[in-house]
């Protein structure tokens, strides 16, 4: 208990950064991932190819490498100067959206074919069919795997600790230099994550319940 109470100045702000990192990257990858999924089912073959290539490459690259590129290679492009927190958000978004894309796409596949056919018969365009008919239904059916992906994202934020973002993954190093018991400290960090993941699980259950009624 002392390890936690004596170092509240570490645990508090560091976990707060973790949550910020998670929230921003979650919103980013939900938007970009859905966009990628749209690319992958679009009528234009080239767009489909881009979507597939992106997902294939990113899903097969370790996240740490994505981080290395964002932090050490991206500045060489001299496009915009990112601070390390933003770089971490971008790296997490780039990586997670490939997984979100696959989840959304599997969701699109579960919507009964008749829905899209009916919409086409009404003369709706591709974007209208997707945006107004298919995606709203698809997203509801993929709540559990979507939340699983977000839980993975939450845990992945710890990697940012190696790239100049002071978040929960970096607590150990600080404790070690302060001469605190790392074993106990790490167990507290683990507990913190268990709590955060439980919150997400509760969100998942309530969303499932609400949306299954609505359907």
């Amino acid at each position: 208990m002392n390890v936690l109470l004596d170092n509240l100045d570490l645990f508090g702000p560091f976990f707060l950064t973790t949550i910020e990192l998670f929230a921003l990257a979650a919103v980013g990858s939900l938007i970009f991932g859905t966009f990628l999924a749209m690319l992958r089912v679009s009528p234009v073959p080239v767009f489909r190819a881009f979507g597939t290539a992106y997902v294939t490459i990113v899903r097969n690259t370790p996240l740490t490498l994505v981080f290395l590129f964002m932090v050490f290679a991206f500045p060489l492009l001299k496009v915009v100067k990112l601070d390390y927190f933003t770089a971490a958000v971008v790296a997490l978004t780039v990586y997670t959206s490939a997984f979100i894309c696959e989840v959304v796409r599997s969701g699109i596949n579960t919507v009964p074919v008749g829905q899209a056919e009916a919409a086409r018969a009404l003369g709706l365009t591709f974007t209208q069919i997707l945006g107004q008919i298919v995606l709203p239904q698809a997203l509801r059916s993929v709540v559990p795997p979507l939340i699983s992906t977000l839980i993975a994202l939450l845990k992945n934020t710890t990697i940012a600790a190696g790239f100049s973002v002071a978040e929960a993954g970096a607590i150990r190093q600080y404790l070690s230099e302060r001469g605190e018991n790392q074993l106990v400290g790490l167990l507290w960090v683990a507990l913190g994550f268990i709590i955060l993941v439980s919150v997400l699980s509760v969100v998942q259950r309530s969303l499932e319940k609400r949306w299954s009624v609505a359907r």
């Binding site: 500045p75 601070d83 100049s164 002071a166 070690s176 230099e177």
Partner: protein, 304 residues
């Protein structure tokens, strides 16, 4: 189909890799210690018939006819493994070699083991290494677990900056500058607690070389840690980087030994004292860290 293409690709790649292997070091790199200005490494006389009565670590090494020494492999100028030859070099390595010679172990009877900071105490208490030489600051917390010979070098926290940067002259001119060091390390916590720069300007990575990379690409303005480590980096590229030379903490480097191994500690202290007295120490310094252009004062041994 896809598998076959990949397999062929791998095979070709593998062949290409193994076919054109070059031996040795890059040619444009001057060989260690032969830069002309008399900074050649000393030769160490391997002592004969040595016995350190009562030292388990020594007995073990003598029985095995080789000695295992814990070092660092990623600190240029101090303890670094050459990627192309697999050879170790640097100030710490020379000290380790000199001590080994005084214990009766020649160059080819030494086995170096790269051990990172976090595992040093564990490796020493386990007996994985006979002794450890690698930027090991002597302090009371560590003395509770192991013992130290030395100090063989007096380091202190300093700043590494770009050679053409005139805006940083001391630790008090860091305000508004980006400062980089290893995540959670004592030097960066010093910067934070002494408010040498704003919190938003503190950058932390896994290793110093990443900080140095960011220093050269001007994403950070200073790298901070022990001056010995910084001098090693500065010596790599004197035209691009320099060490300020105003250490603001005291970090005496010692040789880590088993906690109760007083016999070996005394023996190593004698060797170090002799090297400090007869100029060997100075020679080692000049041929390694001294290449950065800065001088160092001899440490005073702390015998206990």
């Amino acid at each position: 189909m896809r598998i076959r293409t990949l397999a062929v690709g791998l095979l070709v790649g593998g062949l290409a890799l193994t076919a054109c292997g070059k031996e040795g070091t890059p040619t444009d790199k001057p060989a260690e210690g032969q830069t002309g200005n008399a900074a050649t490494l000393p030769e160490y006389v391997v002592a004969q018939n040595v016995d350190v009565a009562g030292s388990a670590a020594f007995a073990k090494a003598k029985g095995a006819k080789k000695i295992t020494i814990g070092v660092k492999d990623d600190q240029p100028g101090l303890g670094k493994k050459d990627a192309t030859t697999g050879q170790y070099s640097g100030f710490d390595i020379e000290i380790a070699r000199m001590v080994a010679a005084s214990l009766g172990f020649g160059k080819d009877q030494i086995e170096y083991k790269a051990i990172p900071s976090a595992n040093r105490e564990q490796a020493i208490t386990n007996g994985d290494v006979a002794y450890y030489v690698g930027t090991y600051t002597i302090n009371d917390k560590r003395k509770a677990q192991i013992s130290f010979a030395g100090p063989y070098f007096q380091a202190g926290q300093d700043l590494l900056i770009r050679a053409d940067d005139t805006s940083i002259t001391s630790k008090d001119t860091l305000k508004g500058k980006k400062v980089c060091s290893v995540t959670g390390s004592t030097p960066i916590q010093n910067v934070r607690t002494q408010k040498l720069t704003e919190d938003a300007n503190i950058v932390e990575f896994q290793g110093y070389s990443q900080c140095v990379d960011k220093l050269l690409t001007k994403d950070v303005d200073a790298v901070t840690t022990d001056d010995a480590i910084l001098k090693g980096f500065a010596a790599q590229d004197k035209s691009a980087m320099k060490v300020i030379g105003q250490p603001f903490t005291k970090e005496p480097y010692g040789i880590g030994l088993g906690h109760d191994d007083k016999a070996l500690r005394d023996k190593i202290n004698d060797t170090l004292q002799k090297a400090l007295d007869d100029g060997t120490w100075q020679k080692i310094y000049d041929a390694t860290l001294g290449k950065s252009g800065s001088t160092a004062t001899k440490p005073t041994l702390e015998k206990y």
